[in-house]
Amino acid sequence: MNKLKIFVVVLVAAISILLLAPAAKEGMLSPAGAAYAQDDWKKEFEAICSKTQDSAALSPDELNNLVDRCNKLRPRIEKLDETQRKVYLKRLQMCRDLFAFVLESKEKK
């Protein structure tokens, strides 16, 4: 019975190592959270800034929502490395400014 237990434990350990080794090699283990989070901010960035194209057709509520999303995303981009931070903060600011501009134009009408 003991032999069987040892065999099962060793088997489980071996399978775990086999499954996790490639992932670790690709850096998915230790900075896994970071990689996922990075993907996450970029998806949000793209979701927001892809709306600039049709910003004039958006309602004030939608524009307000986009401005809020820009404001929320900003601190996450500020945590990136210097180059990414510089590039994406500028791009985000351009999107935010446009939404705010369109919103203001609509409110003035």
Binding site: E46, T52, Q53, D54, T83, Q84, M94, D97, L98
Partner: protein
């Protein structure tokens, strides 16, 4: 009194001729060229000469000034070799892997460059050097339509005739956008009675620039009549003058904007 009048008229002619001559001093091949010298000196390299004519024939303004993030003012981006190596700014395209016309686009910068690689530096870091460039303006411009006093390339006509196809999307850099709903063209009343009103084509501008190149930074209001544009401001590089007379067609091609016949 007559002598004074004649003198003043003569003086005006001389000044106008001087202005035209000064404008003519810019060769078509140098029109829109930008010298980038942010960190070149520290790196022991010559400043970069960026040829707008070459790049704008391939890519829209928005691709570079929105998606890649180049500022609209020379040297304001503060491009570093490190950023290029990481795939930003020039390195967005010049990464040594992307293709253009079935050829690999050369990588912009590299760490610990070999002597051979350093030869490549001068393709961009070329100010003050006698560099044989791969693309030659004269042969490039030969088949493209030209216009105006300076015989500059008429990019709008070139695109309309299918001679250039500026790309608006860069994989990994640009984001998928909805198809563009072009805004309507509108007229702007000329401030001079003798000058036709301006017909502003939103369609033409939006196709190449998107919205965020112009709004709100360059044009902070869309309400008609709120901002009074003057030619003096424009000639000083404000509003339309940020692009026109620098990269886009020059201000002496009056009829391109003042296109509405006087009623």
């Amino acid at each position: 009194m007559r002598l004074l009048k004649a003198f003043l008229i003569g003086l005006m002619f001389v000044l106008c001729a001087d202005m035209v001559a000064a404008r003519r001093m810019i060769k078509p091949s140098e029109y829109g060229s930008v010298t980038i010298r942010s960190f070149s000196h520290q790196a022991g390299l010559a400043p970069v000469r960026f040829d707008h004519w070459l790049h704008r024939s391939l890519y829209t303004c928005r691709l570079c000034h929105v998606d890649i993030g180049f500022a609209m003012e020379a040297n304001a981006t503060r491009i570093t070799a490190d950023a290029n190596i990481k795939g930003f700014y020039c390195g967005s395209c010049h990464d040594g892997t992307r293709l253009h016309d079935k050829k690999i686009i050369f990588a912009s910068c590299s760490v610990n460059a070999t002597p051979e690689e350093r030869m490549r530096c001068s393709r961009c870091h070329s100010v003050g050097k006698n560099v044989q460039k791969e693309y030659n303006y004269a042969s490039f411009a030969e088949k493209l339509p030209k216009g105006g006093m300076e015989e500059l390339i008429d990019w709008e006509k070139a695109e309309a005739r299918g001679l250039i196809h500026p790309v608006d999307f860069l994989i990994g850099v640009s984001m998928q956008r909805q198809p563009l709903n072009a805004q309507k063209d509108f007229s702007i009343t000329s401030r001079s009675t003798w000058m036709p009103d301006i017909i502003f084509s939103h369609k033409k501008h939006v196709m190449w620039n998107g919205c965020e190149v112009c709004h709100p930074d360059i044009f902070p209001s869309v309400k008609k009549g709120v901002v009074k544009y003057s030619m003096l401001q424009i000639a000083n590089g404000q509003y339309c003058g940020l692009c026109h007379d620098r990269v886009a067609f020059p201000l002496n091609e009056c009829d391109k904007c003042h296109a509405n016949p006087v009623q």
